[in-house]
Symmetry: C2
Subunit: 178 residues, 2 copies
């Protein structure tokens, strides 16, 4: 951020009075530009003993496999966002079962909210952001070609939980790398 | 948003190619300025049969009672944010028990994440954003002077759950008013 979105003047990075964090502050109109974490919402679509994954057609992690998920948009609920991303990326219609995985990724200011979901039919097809969409069971899943640590962790929980026959909500914080 | 934060030129509101939503797009450098929902994180601090509330010293809802909560900041986890807000607004040290309430407020692009928490001592005191901080049981709680629907809903769940002796995570979507 270099310029004020309210007045177009340059911003500087400083601690506003009464605050204790560095913010972008407009030198001209005084607007403080707060920045907050974003939510990534998505689904873990199930079909019998398989789960649906998408192979990414975009950066980052082009060509790697992921669960259908993306940034939550204004005006929607977390579940609505998860359904939208699943339809957009995988062309897949699902019914949400439950929130399954809440993962903090403080290094990149993201919080993942992934829902367990039941795939309603097999008429899925890659959207513009996916190269392919496919169903995998635990053993043929491309574990070495997963796009994100959040996705790996959620899938690890999932197959462990399947053996136990119960699917509690999992909370994870990804390690800070810095 | 009127000006591009990357280059300072005016922005216009339109649907970028390949997208299906209106965004602020820079007419000069082409930057698309996405806007996403924010998380409000906070605690429901318990002390025996009482809960801690703060009376707001700021707008909106000046003078009304609320749970200690505020916008999650970059670089922190949801639980860290909830602890920070509880310390800032109520001067209260708590230990988080569990996530208790996840409430979508799509009308104002917010998601509330409220944690049940155990108050560690009684040395709390209002922070700059609070007029007073106090403990209430169900019957003396200022039900008619609560600041937010999210807080009311969470407190209603809480006292009902206390009677049942179990505290599952509650999901709510506040009605769209428009
Ligand atoms: Zn300005
Ligand atoms: Zn620009």
């Amino acid at each position: 951020m270099k310029y004020c979105s309210a007045c177009g003047a340059p911003v500087s990075r400083r601690i506003p009075s009464g605050d204790n964090r560095h913010r972008y502050v407009c030198d001209s109109c005084g607007t403080i530009h707060y920045e907050n974490p974003r939510m990534v919402v998505g689904c873990l679509p199930e079909w019998h003993d398989k789960v649906l994954l998408c192979r990414r057609a975009i950066e980052p992690r082009y060509g790697l496999w992921t669960l259908p998920a993306g940034f939550m948009e204004n005006g929607e609920t977390t579940a609505e966002g998860a359904l939208r991303e699943t339809l957009e990326e995988a062309g897949a219609r699902v019914e949400i079962v439950d929130l399954y995985s809440l993962i903090n990724v403080p290094d990149i200011d993201q919080v993942y909210l992934l829902f367990r979901a039941r795939l309603l039919d097999l008429d899925f097809a890659p959207g513009e952001e996916s190269l392919e969409v496919a169903l995998f069971d635990e053993h043929d899943l491309p574990w070495e070609q997963l796009a994100f640590r959040t996705v790996r962790k959620t899938l690890e929980h999932y197959f462990e939980d399947r053996r136990r026959g119960r699917f509690p909500l999992h909370f994870d914080d990804l390690d800070r790398r810095s």
